[in-house]
C-alpha cells in the first residue's frame, strides 16, 4: 500500500518539477523564474521527505527541515533585490 502511494506521489512530484522547469525556461520575467526556483525548492523538500519514507532514513527528514528553514531566504533575497536593489538596507 505504502509502496504504491510512494510511487504515485513520486510521479506527481516529478511532473510538478517538469512543469516548474518549463516555467523556469520560458519565463518571461525574472520574477517568474524566482518563483519557479522557490517552487522547485518546495518540490525538492517533498521529494526528500518522500525519499526518507521510501528508504526509511531519518537523516532525509533533517535535510528537508534545513531546506524548509533556510530555503525561503534565497527567495526573499531575490525579491528584495528585484524590488529594492539592495538586499540588506
Amino acid at each position: 500500500m505504502i509502496a504504491a502511494a510512494i510511487t504515485i506521489a513520486g510521479g506527481a512530484i516529478c511532473l510538478a518539477i517538469l512543469l516548474t522547469l518549463y516555467r523556469l525556461a520560458v519565463g518571461p520575467d525574472a520574477t517568474d523564474r524566482v518563483l519557479a526556483l522557490d517552487t522547485l525548492v518546495i518540490e525538492t523538500i517533498a521529494l526528500i521527505v518522500l525519499g526518507g519514507i521510501a528508504f526509511g532514513i531519518a537523516m532525509y527528514f533533517e535535510a528537508a527541515l534545513l531546506f524548509a528553514m533556510v530555503g525561503f531566504v534565497t527567495t526573499v533575497a531575490f525579491c528584495k533585490f528585484l524590488l529594492r536593489g539592495n538586499v540588506i538596507e
Binding site: 523556469l24 534545513l66 524590488l83 539592495n86
Partner: protein
C-alpha cells in the same frame, strides 16, 4: 649547548634595543653591549678547551631529511673569528652610542647591528653547510639594512642596493658551490667535509664547486672585479663601516677560503685563479686609495687592497702563506677598525671627510690624532707595529712565488702595491693630522668624548703590543688559528721583528723609498691620473641592472598579461594534451561494476541539472538569470549528495547555496546587470572547443572511476574514525582530526579573505566609482524596505534556527553536522535579521563584532592545537574521553570539539563581515537615512527613537 647560544643570543637580544630605547640612549647601548658581552662570555667559557686542542660542538637536528642541522663547532679558526666579531662588536657599540645623533633611531640601529652580529657569528661557527648558507645570506640582508640605515639619503639607498645585489648574487653562486661540495664529499657537515679533502679534490665536481664558491667569496670580500660595491657602501654610518667593512663582513669571503683551505687548496686551479685575483685586487685597491680625497673612500679602497693581500696569501696554497694570512687578518682588523673610527671622529668634529679641507688636526685633537697616526703607521707597515710583521711575511711569500714560469711577476707587483700602500697611509696621516692648523674647517674641531676615542685606543693597544712582542702576544692565537686552517702540522716559523736581511726587507725599503717619491710628486701623479680614462663602476652597474629590470618586466608582461581566460586556456589545453596522450597510448576496457537503475526521479533531477547548466551557459550575459539558474543547480546537487550517502555535504550545500546567493545579489547590486560580449565568434569557438574537450575528458574520467571497483583510502578512514578520532561521523573526524592541519589553514585563509574583502571595499568606493555605480542602481519598485511579514517571520525563526545550529554543532562528531554547517546555519539566521530589519537595526543588536569573531575562532582552533604540546604530542593531536554525569548520562568529550568551535566562530564571522561590508558599500553609494526601527510600519504604542524612521 652554550656554543649554540653564542649564535642565538644576538638574535634574541635584537628584540631588546627597540624596547629599551624608551628608557634612554644609554640604557639602549648598555643593553646591546650586555647582549654582546653575554655571547662573548659564553664563547670564552670554551676558550680553555679550544686552546687545549679540543673542538667543542653543539647542535640539534633541524630538517634531517634535507641534511640540515642546527649544529655549530668551534675549532681554532671559528673561535678566533667569533671572538674577533664579538670583541670589535662591543667596541663598535660603545662608539656608536656617541656617534649617532639624537635624531637617529638608535633602537633600530642596534637591533640591526645585533642581527648582523648573530648572522656573522653563525657563519663562522656553523658546522653545517646549509646552515652556513642561511647565515651567509642573513649577513647580506642585515648589511643591506645597515648600509641603508639613513634611508633619506639617496646614496645610502643606492649603496645598500648595490651591496645587496653583488653580495646576494655571489651568495646564490655560493649556495650551488657548497651544495656541490657537499655532494662531492658526501656530507653536509663541515667537520666531515674538512676531513675528506683528497676525495673532494679527486671528484669531477671539484672545479665547478671551486668556481662557484669563489664567486661567493670574491663578491663578499670585494675582490676585483667585484670590488666596486665596497666604496659605495661607505654611505653607511661610520660604526657600520668600521664593523662590517673593515673587521667582519668583508672578511667572510677570506674566512670561507680559510675554512675550506684544507679541502680545496693545494691544486693548480686554486693557485692559478686565487693568487692573481688577490694580487690584482691588492694592487688596484692600493692605487685607487692613494687618489681618494674622501677619508672613508681612501680607507675603503685600502680595505679592498688588504683583502686582496689576504686572498692572495691563501691562494698561494702553502702552509706558510696561510699562517701569514691568518696573522694579517688579526692585524688588519685592529688597525683598520681604529682608522675607520678615527675617520668618523674627524667627520663628526671637523664636519668634513675631505682630505683637501683637512690638515693640522694633531694640534686641535691630540688624542685622536695620536691614535690615528699609530694605526696609520701600522697600515703603512712601519716597523714596531703589527702591520709591518704580516706585510713582511706577505712580501717574503711573494718573493718566492713563480707564476706560470714568471719569477718576477709576484715580487714586483707586490712591491708596487706596497709602494702605493705606504703612500696612501702617509697621505691619510699627513693630509689629515699634520701640517699647519687651518682656519676654515666647517666645524670647530676638538677631541670627542671619552666614549668615542676609547674604542680606538683599545684597538691601538694590540697594534703596538703585537708589533713589539709578536711571539708572546699573538703567537698562541696565530698558531691555534693557523693550525685549524691548514688542518695539519704547522710549518716552521716564528713571529719576530728581525729576520735578518731578507728579500722582504729589501722590498719593504724599496716601498718606503718609492712612497716618499710618490708623495712628493703627488700633484703631478694626480694630474696624470686625471688624464687617464675613468671607469665609472656605479654607472655601469646601474645601467646593467636597469637593462635587467627592463628585460624582466618585458618578459613578465608577455607571460603574465592578466587575462585569466588565457591562463586557464593554456592550463586546460595542456591537461587535454597530456591526458589525451596518456589515454590514446594505453589500452583500456569497459568497467566491471554494473550501473544503477535509472528511476523517473533520477531522470527528472538529471533533466533539471542539464537544463539549468545549459541555461547558465546560454544566459551567462544576463547576470540575474544566470544566478537564478545556478540556484537550481545547487538544489539538484544537494539532492544528489543526499541520495548518494553524503548527508554532511547535502546539509553544507543547502546552506552554502543560500549564503552564496545573497552574497552575489549584494555584489550584483553594485555591478552592471549584463556582461557585454567582448570576443569574436572565432575566439568563442576556440575557447568552446577547449572547454568542451576538457568537459568530455572529466566526464570520461568520472565514468571510468565509477564503473570500476578500485581500492581507495576511504576504507582507512572508515575503520579508523572511531578508534583514532573518537567520532563515528567520518567526514567530521576527517575535517577536525585526520586533516585538522588543512582545516586550520583553511579557516585562516577564510578569515584573511573576509578581512581582505573588508579592507578592499572600504576605500575603493570613492569619487568616480561611486558616481558610476549610482547611475547603475536599479529603480526602486517598492517603498517597503522592511516588510512587516518578513520581520515577524524571521524573528520567530531566529531562536529556532539557533537551536538547530547548536544541535548540529554538538552532534557533529558522531552524526552529520559539525562546526562548518552549524556556522552557516547560524550565519543565515543572523543574516535573515539583517535582511528583514536593515543593517542599522541589526548591527546595533549584535554585541560581538565579526572581526573579533574571526580572530577568536582562529585563536581557539590554534590554541586547541597547541594544547597538544602540553601532553608532549605533536600540534593538533586530538584526544577524547567519556564523562559520566548523573543527569545526562555518559557523554563524550573530544578536544576536537574545541577545534570545531573555532571553525564555527570563524565561519559565522566571515559570513557576517563580508555580507555586512558589501551592504555598507551600497549604503555609501546611496546614503539614504538609516532606519533604527525594526520595520517601516509604525505599530501602535511604538515611539520612534529617531527622527526620519521612514526611509
Amino acid at each position: 649547548m652554550t656554543l649554540l647560544l653564542v649564535v642565538l643570543i644576538p638574535f634574541m637580544g635584537a628584540l631588546l634595543p627597540p624596547l629599551v630605547i624608551r628608557s634612554g640612549r644609554n640604557t639602549c647601548a648598555v643593553a646591546t653591549g650586555g647582549v654582546t658581552l653575554l655571547a662573548l662570555a659564553l664563547l670564552m667559557s670554551h676558550a680553555p678547551a679550544v686552546f687545549s686542542g679540543e673542538v667543542p660542538k653543539a647542535g640539534v637536528d633541524w630538517v634531517p631529511a634535507m641534511g640540515l642541522s642546527l649544529s655549530v663547532f668551534a675549532d681554532g679558526l671559528g673561535f678566533f673569528f667569533a671572538a674577533m666579531i664579538l670583541v670589535i662588536g662591543l667596541l663598535v657599540i660603545v662608539y656608536a652610542r656617541f656617534y649617532l645623533s639624537r635624531e637617529d633611531p638608535m633602537g633600530r640601529f642596534f637591533a640591526y647591528l645585533l642581527l648582523f652580529q648573530g648572522s656573522m657569528v653563525g657563519v663562522v661557527l656553523s658546522d653545517n653547510v646549509i646552515l652556513l648558507l642561511v647565515f651567509w645570506e642573513m649577513t647580506s640582508l642585515t648589511s643591506f639594512l645597515l648600509i641603508g640605515f639613513w634611508t633619506k639619503r639617496a646614496d645610502a639607498r643606492q649603496g645598500a642596493r648595490m651591496a645587496l645585489v653583488i653580495t646576494g648574487g655571489g651568495g646564490l653562486a655560493l649556495i650551488a658551490g657548497l651544495l656541490l661540495l657537499a655532494q662531492a664529499a658526501g656530507s653536509y657537515q663541515l667537520t666531515e667535509i674538512l676531513s675528506r679533502g683528497e676525495m673532494v679534490r679527486a671528484s669531477p665536481l671539484y672545479l665547478p664547486a671551486l668556481l662557484l664558491v669563489l664567486a661567493g667569496a670574491f663578491t663578499k670580500s670585494a675582490q676585483f672585479p667585484f670590488h666596486f660595491w665596497l666604496p659605495h657602501a661607505m654611505a653607511a654610518p661610520t660604526p657600520v663601516s668600521a664593523y662590517l667593512h673593515s673587521a667582519t663582513m668583508v672578511k667572510a669571503g677570506v674566512f670561507l677560503l680559510a675554512r675550506l683551505w684544507p679541502v680545496l687548496a693545494g691544486t693548480e686551479a686554486w693557485f692559478l685563479i686565487i693568487a692573481p685575483a688577490g694580487l690584482v685586487t691588492m694592487l688596484i685597491g692600493a692605487a685607487i686609495a692613494l687618489f681618494r680625497n674622501d677619508l672613508k673612500g681612501l680607507l675603503a679602497y685600502s680595505t679592498v687592497s688588504h683583502l686582496g693581500l689576504m686572498t692572495m696569501l691563501l691562494g698561494l696554497g702553502t702552509p706558510m702563506a696561510a699562517v701569514a694570512a691568518v696573522f694579517h687578518v688579526i692585524n688588519h682588523a685592529t688597525f683598520k677598525a681604529a682608522l675607520f673610527m678615527s675617520a668618523g671622529i674627524v667627520d663628526h668634529e671637523a664636519g668634513t671627510r675631505d682630505i683637501r679641507r683637512l690638515g693640522g688636526l694633531m694640534v686641535l685633537m691630540p688624542v685622536t690624532g695620536t691614535l690615528a697616526l699609530l694605526a696609520a703607521a701600522s697600515m703603512a707597515g712601519v716597523p714596531l707595529f703589527n702591520g709591518f710583521l704580516s706585510k713582511e711575511m706577505m712580501l717574503e711569500e711573494a718573493a718566492h712565488t713563480s707564476y706560470l714560469g714568471l719569477d718576477l711577476l709576484f715580487p714586483v707587483l707586490a712591491t708596487v702595491a706596497a709602494v702605493f700602500s705606504v703612500a696612501y697611509s702617509a697621505r691619510f696621516a699627513i693630509g689629515t693630522f699634520l701640517g699647519p692648523v687651518r682656519g676654515d674647517y666647517p666645524h670647530h674641531p676638538h677631541d670627542p668624548p671619552l666614549g668615542m676615542w676609547l674604542p680606538v685606543a683599545v684597538l691601538v693597544v694590540p697594534v703596538i703590543a703585537i708589533g713589539l712582542f709578536p711571539g708572546p702576544v699573538a703567537g698562541p692565537l696565530v698558531a691555534l688559528t693557523a693550525a685549524a686552517v691548514i688542518g695539519g702540522p704547522l710549518p716552521d716559523y716564528h713571529l719576530a721583528l728581525w729576520h735578518g736581511i731578507t728579500p722582504a726587507l729589501v722590498m719593504s725599503l724599496v716601498a718606503f723609498a718609492g712612497a716618499a717619491a710618490l708623495i712628493l710628486a703627488f700633484r703631478r701623479a694626480d694630474a696624470l691620473r686625471a688624464r687617464l680614462p675613468r671607469i665609472d663602476a656605479k654607472a655601469m652597474f646601474e645601467a646593467s641592472t636597469g637593462m635587467f629590470v627592463v628585460g624582466c618586466r618585458r618578459s613578465l608582461v608577455a607571460l603574465h598579461d592578466g587575462a585569466l581566460a588565457r591562463y586557464m586556456g593554456v592550463t586546460v589545453a595542456t591537461l587535454i594534451a597530456v591526458g589525451g596522450y596518456g589515454f590514446w597510448s594505453a589500452t583500456h576496457g569497459a568497467g566491471t561494476r554494473p550501473p544503477l537503475p535509472v528511476t523517473a526521479t533520477a531522470l527528472t533531477a538529471f533533466l533539471a541539472l542539464v537544463l539549468a547548466s545549459g541555461g547558465v551557459l546560454a544566459f551567462h550575459g544576463e547576470r540575474l538569470t544566470a544566478l537564478i539558474l545556478t540556484g537550481v543547480v545547487g538544489v539538484v546537487v544537494a539532492l544528489a549528495f543526499l541520495q548518494f550517502s553524503a548527508p554532511d555535504l547535502a546539509l553544507t550545500q543547502i546552506s552554502v547555496d543560500v549564503v552564496t546567493t545573497i552574497l552575489m545579489l549584494l555584489a550584483l547590486n553594485l555591478l552592471p546587470k549584463a556582461t557585454p560580449r567582448e570576443q569574436s565568434l572565432a575566439v568563442r569557438w576556440r575557447d568552446g572547443t577547449v572547454a568542451g574537450l576538457a568537459g568530455l575528458g572529466v566526464a570520461g574520467l568520472a565514468y571510468a572511476v565509477m564503473t570500476r571497483n578500485g581500492t581507495s583510502i576511504s576504507e582507512y578512514y572508515l575503520t579508523q574514525s572511531k578508534p583514532g578520532g573518537g567520532g563515528t561521523n567520518v567526514v567530521n573526524v576527517i575535517l577536525v582530526d585526520f586533516r585538522g592541519y588543512d582545516t586550520f589553514a583553511e579557516i585562516i585563509v577564510l578569515g584573511i579573505a573576509a578581512l581582505a574583502i573588508y579592507a578592499l571595499l572600504d576605500p575603493a568606493l570613492k569619487g568616480a566609482a561611486v558616481r558610476r555605480i549610482k547611475a547603475m542602481l536599479p529603480r526602486t519598485e517598492s517603498r517597503d524596505a522592511h516588510p512587516l511579514l518578513l520581520v515577524v517571520a524571521t524573528r520567530v525563526l531566529l531562536p529556532l534556527s539557533l537551536v538547530v545550529g547548536a544541535y548540529i554543532f554538538l552532534r557533529g562528531h558522531n552524526e552529520p553536522g559539525g562546526g562548518f554547517i552549524a556556522g552557516l546555519v547560524v550565519a543565515i539566521a543572523l543574516i535573515m535579521q539583517y535582511i528583514a530589519s536593515g543593517y542599522g537595526w541589526a548591527a546595533e543588536r549584535m554585541k560581538v563584532d565579526a572581526q573579533s569573531m574571526i580572530g577568536a575562532g582562529v585563536a581557539i582552533a590554534g590554541l586547541t592545537g597547541i594544547a597538544a604540546f602540553a601532553f608532549g604530542r605533536p600540534f593538533l593531536t586530538s584526544t577524547f574521553g567519556y564523562l559520566h554525569s548523573p543527569v545526562v548520562g555518559t557523554f563524550e568529550l573530544a578536544s576536537a570539539m574545541a577545534f570545531d568551535l573555532g571553525v564555527f566562530l570563524t565561519v559565522v564571522g566571515v559570513m557576517l563581515l563580508s555580507l555586512a561590508q558589501l551592504s555598507r558599500v551600497a549604503h555609501r553609494v546611496d546614503p539614504s537615512p538609516e532606519s533604527r526601527e525594526p520595520m517601516d510600519v509604525q505599530l501602535e504604542r511604538t515611539v520612534p527613537r529617531t527622527a526620519g524612521g521612514e526611509s
